[in-house]
Amino acid sequence: MKRILLLEDDVHLAKLLTHHLKKHDIEVRHQTNRKDALKELEKSDVDVLVSDVMLPHLGGLDFADAVKKDPLFQDKPVVIITGMDRGVIEATKNEADEILYKPFQAKELVEVIERLAA
């Protein structure tokens, strides 16, 4: 069983993803803010980090940035999910191993997680 950390402030989306990924044998640890997400990361051993960009303060990107700079976690694959425009997010490619643009289908996320966690 694989485990992901999901940073997402839209609770509906988190619930749907949790439900769906469970069917594909992926456990979801969900947090809605950056601080709690970092705590969760220290506590649980997760395979992949999935983070929304989160407006208005782009907290999700800061989270990804913090992870990539931390020697303990910098090898963890990071997936950014975003409703923003492609051009805006391209610039942050360095922090992400993969970017998924909303709306996406559940199976796209499953594919990405399975590939990155392998």
Binding site: D10, H12, L13, P103, F104, A106
Partner: protein, 481 residues
């Protein structure tokens, strides 16, 4: 007035006795007076070559020759003051002398140093004052003639008293128009109506209007002001300032702001809408797995999914259209862009039986452009034009490109149904559309493309006559961003 230390004077027509009497006075003046004596009018021109501050003229005022000379002197050397020393005569003859143009007079019997000093003092001050006024007047004249405003002055009945060359060149072309009634000159046009309005009201007038000057529509700021004059009446000053260029710049700035605002709104909207859309997507995914095999359910889920995709597509289009375009500008053969743009609409042109007129630039005309973006803009413009031509009897579409004054000018012109003013005003707004089924983003896209090229777009349209779009692209020295 500065303190006098030395003056140069010409003394004319003095007899021996006059001379000796004057010398005594001169020697007792508190400043140095250099006197040059002349006996005949003909000597004056030679004497006046030298520095001359004033002229003393000895004369019997009943001598008509003396008065005539005075007149000639005034005509020729009006800037040099003349003091008359009258050998005889009274107050009455002195007045005659003043009228003839002397600046001051002294009766010979009163020839004393303090009288002469006072008179010289007075004349020099008066001359200096006149000179100052003349200089100011000349500055005002220069300003009047060279200001970019077209200016005229009339009396209260609109009879022209004065006008500057700008006004003459732009509106009159008749330098002999002084005295003419300006209302007759502008009888039929908009300016005539303004004059009429101004007469009806008490206040000054300050309005912007478009005037057709030598066949070209230009924007003017027109001001009429009443200036009270001494006799209780008034003059009217009118000024017309050509504000076409600044108006155009202002419109440009507003358009750019509008596009930027639209894009910001679109981005926020897109982000907010995409979140719930994702949730719907994921829910459908889930339901599709749960309910596979039920045809009814599949049908409804399929409809939901398609519509979610449609919303997503709309958001994409909106973002694209309002986005400041990133240009891939390179030296481009203009003719090829026009050719390609036409190729896009050729089928529809033929189908609708539209006469297509092309004026393309020379094959070697190149410009810094993003050929694909410009092509898209032209296709959008021509697509709109074709729609405006739908119910026209002899539909014509013209695509023209030329280089003029360091600008590439491209026109798309149709003789279609034209546009009302309110349509024109909103044409470049996102989501404004005058037709069914359109999203109202075509023109926003055109605008964004032109802006990205640092170009400008203008629109000329009249209902029933057709529409012309004019795109102008300035020559770029440095590369476009």
């Amino acid at each position: 007035m500065e303190h006098i230390t030395e003056i140069h004077a010409i003394i004319s027509n003095a007899s021996k006795r006059d001379q000796s009497q004057l010398e005594k006075v001169i020697n007792n003046l508190p400043f140095k007076l250099n006197a040059a004596y002349i006996d005949h009018e003909s000597d004056l021109n030679t004497a006046i070559q030298h520095l001359t501050d004033l002229i003393f003229l000895f004369e019997d005022l009943d001598d008509p020759d003396g008065l005539n000379w005075l007149e000639r002197l005034r005509a020729q050397f009006h800037y040099i003051p003349v003091i008359l020393i009258a050998r005889k005569g009274d107050q009455r003859t002195a007045i005659t002398a003043m009228k003839a143009g002397v600046d001051d007079y002294i009766f010979k019997r009163e020839l004393k140093p303090e009288v002469v000093e006072r008179s010289i003092q007075y004349c020099l001050e008066k001359t200096a004052h006149h000179k100052e006024i003349e200089e100011q007047n000349s500055i005002l004249q220069t300003f009047f003639q060279h200001t970019s405003d077209a200016v005229f002055i009339t009396d209260r009945n609109w009879n022209l008293k004065s006008f500057n060359s700008k006004f003459d060149q732009t509106f009159l072309n008749d330098s002999k128009a002084i005295g003419k009634d300006i209302r007759k000159i502008f009888k039929h046009d908009k300016l005539g109506k303004l004059i009429h309005d101004f007469d009806e009201k008490e206040e000054d007038l300050d309005e912007e209007l478009s005037l057709n000057v030598s066949g070209i529509d230009r924007q003017y700021r027109v001001r009429f002001t009443r200036i009270p004059i001494e006799d209780g009446s008034f003059s009217i000053i009118g000024s017309l300032l050509d504000i076409t260029l600044s108006k155009r710049a202002e419109t440009e700035r507003r358009e750019i702001e509008k596009v930027q605002l639209t894009h910001r709104m679109a981005r926020i909207l897109a982000h907010e809408v995409r979140n719930p859309l994702t949730n719907i997507h994921l829910s459908i995914d889930h339901l599709q797995e749960e309910m596979a095999g039920n045809d009814d359910h599949d049908l409804y889920l399929d409809i939901i999914q398609r519509n979610v995709k449609r919303i997503d597509k709309l958001i994409d289009t909106l973002l694209q259209s309002s986005k400041p375009f990133e240009l891939d500008a390179k030296p481009t053969i203009v003719r090829e862009v026009l050719d390609h743009a036409f190729a896009n609409i050729k089928d529809r042109v033929e189908l609708l039986n539209v006469e297509f007129i092309q004026h393309f630039p020379e094959k070697d005309t190149q410009w810094m452009l993003d050929p694909e973006k410009l092509e898209l803009a032209l296709v959008n413009l021509m697509t709109n034009a074709l729609e405006a031509l739908a119910e026209v009897e002899t539909p014509k579409l013209m695509l023209m490109g030329l280089v003029k004054d360091d600008e590439l000018v491209i026109q798309v012109k149709d003789n279609g149904k034209g546009m009302e003013e309110e349509v024109k005003d909103q044409l470049f707004d996102a989501f404004f559309t005058a037709r069914k089924g359109g999203m109202g983003l075509g023109m926003t896209t055109v605008k964004a493309i032109v802006n990205a090229h640092k170009g400008s777009i203008s629109l000329f349209s009249k209902p029933g006559e057709g529409t012309t779009f004019e795109l102008r692209f300035p020559k770029q020295k440095d590369s476009l961003k």
